[in-house]
Symmetry: D2
Subunit: 492 residues, 4 copies
């Protein structure tokens, strides 16, 4: 997928270490966020605690831009959490950077959040009604203020963070993977559907001593900071990290309809991360192989849209026997630029990002593998670019089904109308992008390729694939009303 900014996610991280080990937890958090940078490039932040005082620094930009030695060094302590926020064009303001840190009657409390609550409006209203003033429009402030209040029926004078988190989970709807810092513990919480990923690792010294524990959105961050992967946080689970190690409890019953977002496999997660026991790269290769079986084509070369579709392209090659090559070179230094292209350049804005490799394309029948098509703005120019680069035929193969439904669980997939596959059938899309042929993997094919096999007796996939099939795991009636202003849609 090559479009700019069609999706929203975040990266979360937390670490607890024994104070006497003198681990520089802020630095650890920095490198973990660095490894999770693909999950959010708008802002970054770290909060630490030394058992009494919490400190934080956050700012706009990449983690390497936000932090320097001068602002990292004061972040002392033996526990820390961190956050990367995704860049959306709209509300990109410093006040929304996370973690959100407050003082409560029981000391400091900071929250890093990945996901999207679907009943935020009601939760905000309840807080305002209770007389709490809010300073931002973020979910994470809402969560923090909800945790600051004694839980209904709870002992008002005890911290009882566990009970407070349970009370939050009882009230909140939607997707959330949370990492929470109190003065002396880290909590990791995953919503009852387990929509967004979250995993636990262990920090071990060279001599094998357990130094601490750590949680992260993806296992690639654990590998980067040298932590040993333990397991994923289960849906509805609350994990507490403190001097007693990893303590698990069920914070809310697992939802009837559960399952992690399948788009993490398709595009989001880093290929070297392990989700549900599978390396993402491996899954993407399987998707590509399945795609080759379902939609074979007589061609000379397979290329992927770099870099996200490369694993699927390799899978297509392995299954089809058509040689793999590189046909598009991506500018490695593409970053956020605020310079608008001229009219002349805008016409071919993909050419600012990609150039074709004539030597590998000239006179050839090309299979172009992409991981997904969301808005469909750039597939057309890419096909055109390959033709200009000498390709005789261009056959587009997509390793996920058509995206026809917006996501309300943490990926900003725009409205129905912006989704090309909501507006057009596949043949129309093929014509629109000018490909010689176009095929998507089937829904069943994707489910089978992703695996793992659905538990016996459970008919459907164990993942949320609502963006493909519209089968939302929770009630999104309100959201659909707001987002989709167009009433009628074609029946595919």
């Amino acid at each position: 997928m090559i479009e700019a900014g069609p999706k929203e996610a975040c990266g979360v991280y937390g670490v607890w270490t024994h104070a006497q080990e003198k681990v520089d937890v802020a630095r650890l958090a920095f490198f973990a966020l660095y490894a999770l940078q693909h999950r959010g490039q708008e802002s970054a932040g770290i909060a630490t605690s030394d058992g009494r005082t919490a400190r934080q620094h956050k700012g706009m930009g990449l983690v390497a831009q936000v932090f320097n030695e001068a602002n990292l060094r004061p972040l002392t302590g033996h526990l820390a959490i961190g956050h990367n926020r995704y860049s959306t064009t709209g509300n990109s303001v410093a006040a929304n950077a996370q973690p959100h840190l407050i003082e409560t009657i029981h000391g400091p409390l900071a929250v890093s959040h990945n996901g999207n609550l679907t009943n935020t409006d009601a939760l905000r209203r309840a807080l305002l009604q209770r007389g709490v003033g809010l300073i931002s429009t973020t979910d994470s402030e809402v969560i923090t203020q909800m945790l600051a209040a004694p839980p209904p029926g709870g002992e008002p004078n005890g911290p009882e963070w566990g009970k407070r988190i349970q009370a939050f989970m009882a009230a909140a709807e939607g997707a959330y993977s949370l990492v929470i810092l109190t003065h002396d513990a880290i909590y990791a919480v995953r919503d009852p559907r387990g929509l967004r990923p979250l995993c636990i690792g262990e920090l071990v010294s060279r001599s094998g001593r357990k130094v601490g524990w750590t949680v992260a959105s993806e296992s690639c961050a654990l590998a980067t900071v040298g932590a040993r992967f333990l397991r994923e946080v289960a849906p509805g689970e609350i994990i507490r990290l403190d001097r007693n190690g990893v303590q698990a409890s069920q914070g809310a019953p697992v939802a009837a309809r559960r399952g992690m977002c399948i788009f993490e496999y398709v595009y989001f997660a880093r290929p070297d991360s392990v989700l549900e026991g599978q390396t993402v790269h491996e899954v993407r290769q399987r998707l590509g192989a399945r795609l080759a079986e379902e939609a074979p084509v007589d061609a000379d070369v397979v290329i992927g849209v770099p870099d996200s579709a490369t694993p699927a392209a390799i899978g297509y090659t392995l299954a089809s026997g058509i040689p793999y090559s590189e046909g598009l070179i991506k500018n490695r230094y593409i970053g956020r630029t605020f310079i608008e292209p001229t009219e002349r350049l805008r016409q071919s804005s993909v050419s600012l990002k990609y150039n074709p490799l004539r030597a590998n394309l000239e006179g050839k029948r090309v299979v172009l593998v992409d991981d997904s098509i969301v808005r469909g703005n750039t597939a057309g120019p890419l096909v055109q670019l390959l033709r200009e680069g000498g390709a005789r035929e261009v056959h587009v193969r997509v390793s996920s089904p058509p995206v026809r439904h917006p996501c309300f669980m943490g990926i900003d997939m725009a409205t129905h109308e912006e989704l090309i596959a909501f507006r057009m059938r596949v043949p129309a899309i093929q014509h629109h992008i000018g490909a010689d042929s176009l095929a998507y993997i089937s829904h069943a094919g994707m489910v089978a390729a992703v695996g793992p096999q659905a538990p016996t007796g459970q008919a459907s996939t164990p993942h949320c694939a609502a963006c493909f099939d519209g089968d939302y795991p929770l009630d999104v009636t309100a959201q659909l009303k707001v987002r989709s202003r167009r009433k009628c849609a074609f029946d595919d």
Copy 2:
């Protein structure tokens, strides 16, 4: 090649358009520099002229960080030059950003320079002796001030930029690809050996009208701004772009020993650039294929060090029949960070950049293709990383010969002592990096793979390969004295 900062280069760009076409030349330069970002990430700058007044903006950082609408908009005019400077740790100061712009008796003059003069000290001294004060330590200031003076025997009152450039070429030694802006023309100049690349393109309107002409370090920048590649600037040639189009003249006789730096093929240039009629990607694939022939190995999978060695790895796959796969995932967001890793993390600093893909490595005999080994700091950790990822055997194959000699023609390849292949023979290096086997392509193999065939009657390669064979195309006695403090070296 995966080491940080072992080489120095720059990107240069220039564009001349007919004023009535109202082309936003600063914006064009911006996107061209964006495409040339791989040649330098320390600073960026653009200078423009509207026929009378020159304006410029430059700053530290990536081109997308240096420029915004507010500082780009005032850069009006119909001709422009630009520059990307490489990031070295030492003299990274704003005063050294280019272009270097001065006022002369004949109006504004700005210079963008890629390369390295080998007699800078003498040239500086001559300027200082002449009573010119200098404000920086850059070659480009020296060049600009040399051009500001009337050429010996020249008419002092006429601009005669061509003659001035010839006088500069007569005095200067070393590597230089220059783009020069005067009030109404752009000059492009390449040293008599043609050591660094430089090419010419044509801007054509949709209706086929010639809008202007443009020069760039690499053709990928021409493609990005939608210009049509015309040809390369020849060694010793002076190109003048003005209302009369492209005017060429020979500024200095072509050197007896000539030839572009072969390292541009090996590592430097963007794979989609065309050098001497060949796409760089294609050459790298050929290097990989030749390497497979010269140094075959019984293995299960071929992987490349991402991203620079991917084309060579693909070439190795095609020639050997061993399947290609991805085995190392690179953090796409690695940028400059000023945060030092902790002791713990420093031990495995490559793991901040790369993670292994267990699924593709587990139990396998792996061929790891790299494009070059310079200092040898990271090959060892990478081999180790692959083993931790499950690889049964790791066979390192390098698609360029051992780097044994420093470069004084524009690539900062450190001193002799820092080059691992100067200090160690290949078996020692293999042991040092812990590989099951190690092989480099042969010198002859590289020359043959790069091509094109040397013209009849010319014995040696038509490229500078001094970093591999020590056969410098010009006198570097003085440089060698300074750089190599160790007297004896082994004979391989």
Copy 3:
């Protein structure tokens, strides 16, 4: 008084205009804060409302540094409040800048605060207990969150800002002059003792149409923005500005012990401000005149410590007949510098700020008038400077009594121990500073000079003069415990 940073205060401002008058209220607030800059130089901020949405900008530094056209222009609306915060060395952080803006169930709410609550700890604790998380250590956040909650017994669904403010006033102890912005009204509130100043003005168009109303800490801000002074806000009063004009109500009963801080007359307020019907400059002249009567001296010239003591020096001159002159030149550009003087320069740090005028001092007997002596660090060096400038005798006269007690009502006057007049009797101070004579105005003299005459039947002064006499208008037992760690003090 010439010491750096011995006191803390703030400037507050608010304006309400009829929307159809299209007054640029943010700009008005800017210039009002500019006029109130002497009350606080650490940070500045402005919040506006257009009837629905509130916007704000704030930052560290002088108001002219914090605001520019780019950040002022988005502050649209027809009502605004502003704030200048005093620079203290300790908690000088951006998060403490005011106004403090939150969203409540009834829309936006922003608060600017001048003063110091004496029961902040209890109020914070009550909020935290109620489950409200706090993000700063400021009084203003506490006030805002207190106002966000429905008042006890209040109708939870109605805004009833007036009742909420009353509930706040019932709970809060200490000094506060507040300016509050809701979506459509401005409130101005003064504590029941009227400790800090606050006044109301009227904006009238050239044709005499009433355009709006405005409130400010001091009348000098009204004059600067062209508003007509109406009256002061009375102790305990709540003023509401909206489309119905100025509506007053008593928010809390006037305290038994009431009276504005007399130090506003002595040093704080701008000399052109009118407090309680008197121009501050005039009061300072009277203080100087009274001082001349109480403590005459046979001398040749009267000089004041510039600029704050100039009015008292003029008063001394008028009453004594001794000619006035300038004897010390102050560097007008003294601002905050972060450069530490060298050892050599530190010895005479007052000489970085002042130079003596030999021509006016040579051989003369000099009366040096100062408005107050707090820590006593600089009086000595100043006397020394005058002697070096040629003064034959230096007689120090202080137009306020010895400062012996810390302030807890909005002026940061340090602890008992830091006050020189708490540690030493007057003769010891005279010896300490090396003056030929030293005299302070008497307490009764100050009270008489400040006026206005105390209402019949009220024995004491109608002002708070606790820093001079220790007679605090409210219970400060807790504060005294914290601040004064030394148990015994001399009996004067």
Copy 4:
């Protein structure tokens, strides 16, 4: 004088110390520039040398904004120069900040310049003709590059800075007080007319050891850094400071028409500075006294426009017997603001800076003393402000004659047309500003008051008073052509 930005000047500073004394010369320069801040607020810079290497830092803004510990600390060495540049609206760019530092064949060379060369165009042209490219439009770059060249007939290989400076003095016309830093010496140079001030001081340790020598635009800077005033640099003199102390030589013959700018006495210099043996404050008092004799008025109170006219107002008081008081309060925090006042506020823009003191004005006949009237934009609003403050009559008295001619020797006094006294006779000005009476001091009165008495046989004043009488001490025909586009002027 109260107008914004009508004049241009600069502050220069230099210090040489014995290396073994380990004086922090950059810090000394910082505090000296701090004391000279009134001479320029646009930019500040410091260059140092440790005998071999020169270092510098400069930037836009006040000296306290430009420097912090981090950028001051690297400025090591035992000699330094510094510069404050005046803020003009036009060419306020960082590239023009001084000192201007270059490398020459004889090592580093840096120049700080106060003044204005009148033949800059010819000097620039000569440099450009010689083939030297220039990077700014400043005089100081021109001077530096002139000094970089071997003097005509000079030994090209010796530094001979003295001869080079002489050669510069022979070629340059206009006003210049220069402080020059070479690798091991400081030079101070004053133009042959001595138009701008420059003085020498001595740094002595507490034990009386001579630590070093220092030069500054004004003696107030010497006092601030604890240096002992020695003498002024004489017109045409070159002073060299090095290990041998202060060495003087005559660099150019003293001009026939010589004399320091009289406006330094009138307005520019700090009142505590000593010029030609006289304290500036004392001279201003004498000007006020003379003004009282020449233009008496029956009035109740004398007030000065703060702060510059206060000494003259005191002088007027002393001579007239009319009591002195303060009638206008100036906002002490007026700094550069980039916020435009609203239409409403613009009408009375002086009220953003000044408020009247009703108590001192009500019903009174007021003498308003100003030091000068240049453009005449603000005298009218000030008179109006006093009337609004209750003044019954306002009599304006100006302690310098009408300014009728632009200055080309370092004060940017605009063009003829912008000078109100060029366009109008005094009665018209009085009517224009709405005063009850208006009088300026006579030319003869000013000359007599300033003193010292002209040497016998020299008819005219020993000062340049061209802005008052048009009697320029050098040829300004070219400048007059450019500046005055209006041909006819009235005959007064």
